[in-house]
């Protein structure tokens, strides 16, 4: 036992002194050049055929953003952007009006940087193959969306929701309180309409209409349109969701 005491001290000194070396090792790993290794060459060779196609199809600039659009906050600029983009495509349902647009926050997979936006950015934002649908539900069902908003801050358009102390204080569609017996047209994805992300209030609708349009393509349509108008897209929030204590 007596012999072990000094060893213990040495052990501690050495243990401590190891940290800088490990730090250095990993800093170095950031600077590996792709050309350093034969493996990465093989990898890049085998990737090039695919890369060419993807780059061609996704490199096109479709819009310009005046600022970064992100998922941050209760109401997010990204959520508002996607809702606007879906709403722009409502003509895919001729003769119908859209009361509300609903998206799930978890389904938005990437923020958008300031400046030029390419098709690739929209792929990263919306990688899924989900399609745009119009679901008609009763006001009673629509109100069941509110607890989901409280829990996960899902993006929406066409409603104003005030939450106080974790409870719903007011829920308006347009400027009117929700009528439990009235039909509301909800523009959303088929994934959510099938009850995805626990959105079961959408899964027994009065009616559901498909569009055949992918959500991703719907967003690309919107960006293309804004570009045609030579307009930059501005990030914004308008206070549609207010959460207070």
């Amino acid at each position: 036992m007596i012999r072990r005491v000094p060893i213990l001290i040495i052990v501690h000194i050495l243990l401590f002194s190891c940290h800088p070396r490990y730090l250095k090792q990993s800093e170095k790993s950031e600077h590996y050049s792709l050309k350093e290794s034969s493996v990465s060459n093989v990898l890049n060779d085998s990737l090039s055929r695919y890369k060419k196609k993807v780059d061609q199809e996704t490199g096109r600039v479709i819009s310009t953003l005046s600022g970064e659009i992100t998922k941050e906050g209760n109401e997010s600029t990204l959520g508002n952007f996607v809702c606007d983009a879906l709403n722009y495509n409502k003509d895919f349902f001729p003769g119908e009006t859209v009361d509300v647009v609903i998206v799930n926050r978890g389904g938005l997979r990437a923020n958008l940087p300031k400046g030029d936006i390419r098709v690739i950015n929209i792929f990263e934002l919306m990688p899924f193959e989900n399609e745009l649908v119009l679901v008609t539900i009763k006001g009673k069902e629509l109100l069941k969306f509110v607890p989901h908003v409280i829990e996960k801050k899902h993006p929406f358009l066409g409603m104003k929701i005030k939450i106080k102390n974790g409870q719903s204080e007011s829920v308006l569609v347009g400027d009117e309180p929700v009528d439990e017996t009235k039909n509301y047209n909800v523009l959303t994805s088929d994934y959510l309409a099938n009850g995805g992300d626990s959105f079961t209030f959408l899964s027994n609708p009065v009616s559901i209409k498909p569009s055949g349009l992918k959500i991703r393509d719907a967003i690309i349509n919107y960006c293309d349109f804004e570009k045609k108008l030579k307009q930059t897209i501005d990030p914004y929030k308008d206070g549609r969701l207010i959460i207070s204590k």
Binding site: R4, Y22, Y32, S37, F123, G195
Partner: protein, 313 residues
């Protein structure tokens, strides 16, 4: 926290301090040889989770991860480590698919091909790996030279039924060591479009994990048992997670997790249901980090020394 690269090196001295202080200067090849000459066997576990089809690094205008990640860079690093280390195991904890157009255009073919070139040993299924259904996994499997492990999904009524690349567990022999690897997956309900996974039956991950871990430890006599998990690190609710699984487990040494995209600053050491050590780790997502855990086994196959680091890619 997400942006900080963990550089914590955790060292566990399992039994005798008398073995000597030289153990602590591990890492350079010379001292490693010294250990090897004393009969120690070193295992290097490399791992990723939630790669999400991030084949190329994040674009330079990405607000958060500009230039980070990328399969080619990772391959370079792995190749370097393989040159230095004898016994390397390369694993992934699921969600290989979905997240860049490479998946939308080629349905996972490239991911599997490139991971095969990197010589992955085993992966488990994440929810997004089912995004185009079991049929698509089967279709892409010819491009994969690695094993798929999962013990809590029943695929009997799916395209994966009887598949020859899917196992509840696999045992990998590395020098004198036997390493058992098995996988557990998350409840797919509400995570994957029902049309794609309605026939995949989800069974309890805890009881199945314990069942197969016991088989690996006692029947297969594995020196070390690794669980590849796509349950998620931990939740505010009582939903099953890696942390809960760890506390209810037996015979698991290491849980490599995924799903919650958690950048764990260092692997977490927890106690299992009988008070033994179990380590939980996860390295974020998109191949931004490559996790590395090194363990030296004594000639008597007792774990002696463990260290970890994450390499930013």
């Amino acid at each position: 926290m997400e942006d900080s690269l963990f550089q914590n090196r955790r060292d566990f001295l399992k039994y005798s301090l008398g073995v000597g202080a030289t153990l602590y200067s591990l890492g350079s090849k010379g001292t490693n040889n010294l250990l090897v000459s004393k009969g120690f066997t070193k295992l290097t576990i490399l791992y990723t989770n939630d790669q999400h089809s991030r084949i190329e690094p994040f674009p330079e205008n990405d607000p958060k991860y500009a230039g980070e990640g990328g399969f080619a860079k990772r391959a370079t690093l792995i190749e370097k480590i393989r040159k230095e280390e004898e016994n390397v195991l390369l694993l992934d904890a699921g969600d290989i698919f979905q997240g860049t157009p490479y998946f939308n255009y080629f349905s996972g073919e490239i991911e599997y091909k490139l991971m095969s070139l990197m010589k992955y040993d085993a992966v488990t299924f994440g929810n997004h790996d089912f995004d185009l259904g079991c049929e698509n996994i089967v279709k892409q499997m010819p491009h994969a030279s690695f094993d798929f492990v999962n013990c809590n999904y029943n695929f009997s009524n799916t395209a994966l039924a009887g598949n020859k690349k899917v196992f509840p567990y696999k045992v990998y022999k590395k020098d004198k060591l036997k390493i058992g690897v098995f996988g557990v997956g998350i409840d797919l309900e509400n995570l994957v479009d029902k049309r794609y996974v309605k026939d995949v039956v989800y069974n309890d991950p805890v009881s199945n994990a314990n069942k197969w871990a016991t088989v690996l430890k006692h029947d297969e006599k594995c020196d070390y048992v690794i669980c590849l998990s796509h349950l998620g690190y931990k939740y505010d609710t009582n939903k099953i997670s890696d942390v809960l699984l760890a506390s209810q487990s037996k015979n698991i040494d290491l849980i490599i997790g995924g799903h919650t995209h958690t950048f764990l600053n260092s692997p977490e050491e927890l106690k299992n249901s009988i008070g033994e050590k179990v380590v939980v780790t996860q390295v974020g997502w998109a191949g931004i980090w490559l996790g590395k855990i090194e363990i030296n086994f004594s000639p008597y196959n007792k774990k002696l020394f463990q260290s970890n680091s994450a390499h930013k890619i």
